[in-house]
Symmetry: C2
Subunit: 458 residues, 2 copies
Amino acid sequence: MTGISDHHVVIVGGGFAGLYAAQSLRRAPVRVTLIDRRNFHLFQPLLYQVATGGLSPADIASPLRSVLRRQRNVCVLRGEVTGFDALGRRVWLGDEGIQYDTLILATGASHHYFGHANWEPLAPGLKSIEDATEIRRRVFEAFERAERETDAVRRQAWMTFAVVGGGPTGVELAGAIGELAHHTLPQDFRRVDTRQTQVFLLEGTGRILPVYDERLSRAAVESLGRLGVTVRTNSVVTDIQPDGVTLCRDGQPEVIAARTVVWAAGVQASPLGAALARATGAELDRQGRVIVAPDLSVAGHPEIFVLGDLAHAPQPDGRPLPGVAPVAMQQGAYVARLIARRLCGQTAPPFHYRDRGSMAVIGRSAAVAQIGKLRLRRFPAWLVWLFVHLMYLVEFENRLLVLLQWGWNYLTRNRSARLITETPKSRDESPWPALPARQRLPETAASRSDDDSGERQI
Amino acid sequence: MTGISDHHVVIVGGGFAGLYAAQSLRRAPVRVTLIDRRNFHLFQPLLYQVATGGLSPADIASPLRSVLRRQRNVCVLRGEVTGFDALGRRVWLGDEGIQYDTLILATGASHHYFGHANWEPLAPGLKSIEDATEIRRRVFEAFERAERETDAVRRQAWMTFAVVGGGPTGVELAGAIGELAHHTLPQDFRRVDTRQTQVFLLEGTGRILPVYDERLSRAAVESLGRLGVTVRTNSVVTDIQPDGVTLCRDGQPEVIAARTVVWAAGVQASPLGAALARATGAELDRQGRVIVAPDLSVAGHPEIFVLGDLAHAPQPDGRPLPGVAPVAMQQGAYVARLIARRLCGQTAPPFHYRDRGSMAVIGRSAAVAQIGKLRLRRFPAWLVWLFVHLMYLVEFENRLLVLLQWGWNYLTRNRSARLITETPKSRDESPWPALPARQRLPETAASRSDDDSGERQI
């Protein structure tokens, strides 16, 4: 807290990258302004638990002001950045300009429908709290509809779920829905047997979890099968309707009559990447991510950094770093260190990502994990997954309660947060109301990127 | 579970009255169908905690199916009752008719704006989870706006809150907002001092908590004052605008520049009361409640009962029983017993309410309580309040966590569930978007009923 200079660091985005950058600047002689349009930091890796009723939104969201309350050199500002003035070193919040000396942009990514924007209301993605409570509403509503449906075919359609995308998010969601149907809900319903539920996990490539070791993909298929999840590989979704999904599977069309479809297939960068590119001439990749230098700065603008899911940071092999929390956190800490060194007239080596491993959880007691040369499956992998996630969570205040909630859910197979809130506006034609419109990137930025669908690493 | 007969009890509404009726019928030789349009039972007395970020919605809502899963003679049906066929003994869910032998109607009450429906979007009430998260959004959003506002007058308007109605709900909300501003938030903001917040509690009659002992009203005013809450009695709200409230106070007009107004002043019965009256010829009182016989049945229809906030059950002194949870619970248990006795050819004495006392909580360590001849204030009353509410909560599964959350909040003065979710659609003209339209009673049913504004009893 000694010697706060006038150097002003503006951080846009309070996700893993932005928050870790702000926290890592706590001893640096700078003023920090952290801008986010939400008032909380979201622990995205557990969002699937909110979507399936295991945790409440507040369990995985920490108010930014609360997390940073003791760090006196940070000012949190809730607002939506609308553009940049790279020459004048300002970010715009509407017509209010905020001056910076260093800018850190870390506004992440959202889901992406490969040019099929009309699929969004039919198959919501899982990136925000609102997405999660919307999926939660649809999942539990589907069982309620099944209980009241007298026609057997229509009833089974309500009890059929399709998850599009076989990355970690898709695997975790499909596993949690299977767990719910087979272990949590059977006693709750009188007319339907929820164990008749079918969950389809649809993957366009030859195997789920394509970035993992092949043995782990097979282990995941096996663990999912025990929860009643059917994995369909080489299955490209060609259409989504209110009452089902059309696939092209090994060249053959197939229709799955599922009333509930969840999207976990594609991501696209925040539109602020394109706005920054317009202001600085920076290059974007096909997903709309900003291509950054080895020190994570933007070409020609050493005072502007892009981090996390919004950044395309090339690895030595030329491929970009994956869009996962550990990359974002390490980048946040790196840039904070770099800023502090620059203020002392020093330089720093390029950013180097230390890959500590990847993992995905399946239901309540199985997972797959690869850590260095180690390959773990089923219960041992689940224990490692639990330990790693709890370690992160406990860093934040009040997160011991999540552990207790979890322990309780584990022992009782209960899920107490399964509220259906907000009733749909129209019930007959389309089963679900349209979601609020999102800002979209120009279609040129659209591309198939299954590999990036929310991959999770340690 | 022995000898389930064909006698079918249909209960409409899963609040305190309906749920307790269903649970009390667990050993009766009947089939029970519990119909609710929501999938959860809500512990309404703690809704103000959700509205002020202390608890999550799922902490005070239990899925009905989960609460009743082990009671095999109950079938839960999620659906919205649209009307009654008293002659054919059916309730209508749209065009689906459900046959009953005994009907229990307990769909409660909602808030009421005394003919000023246009006030609803400006001053939301506190009856549902959605109401609570909407108030939570407005309260925390107001502090965010204050932090960004440069004009001192406008900033103070964002830091001014008006709560309309000095019954227990109003007292609890005003106390919780005061607590928040004076103890939870001061460290979180850098530009504004949240201790400058003003909270006005507006009451039309001569004192707050009018049904309590006068000494307790005075004690409440004192405890509220310590949390920065200003009580204005004899103050009738004559208008609500997006930027303030107009009062008539002792005949003089007064404007309070408050950007956030919460409504805790009037209640009106669920519109299903009027629908039942049309079907049976039952009489309604001025609040739209169904006037019931001493055994809680409807005149001419011994097989139809109305319970809880929807019922006007006359006491010996002619006044109706208050709309509080203990009345509803005792009525639910009474009617269940009556139904069981009737099936054995027996009768039962009229319903008699055992008043075990009333209480209202103020902030984190004060309350007022009257229990028989006992009058408690401040910390002792708060301890009693805590004990009574925890006793209720612990009856439901998983509610130990609420205790822990609370203990934590108490020790740290923290409120972790302060998420601002769902962004407003229009920001400039009206600060808040319109709430979803509610079904409203015909205006003839409108009447001033400050006394009924959510009074809380043990």
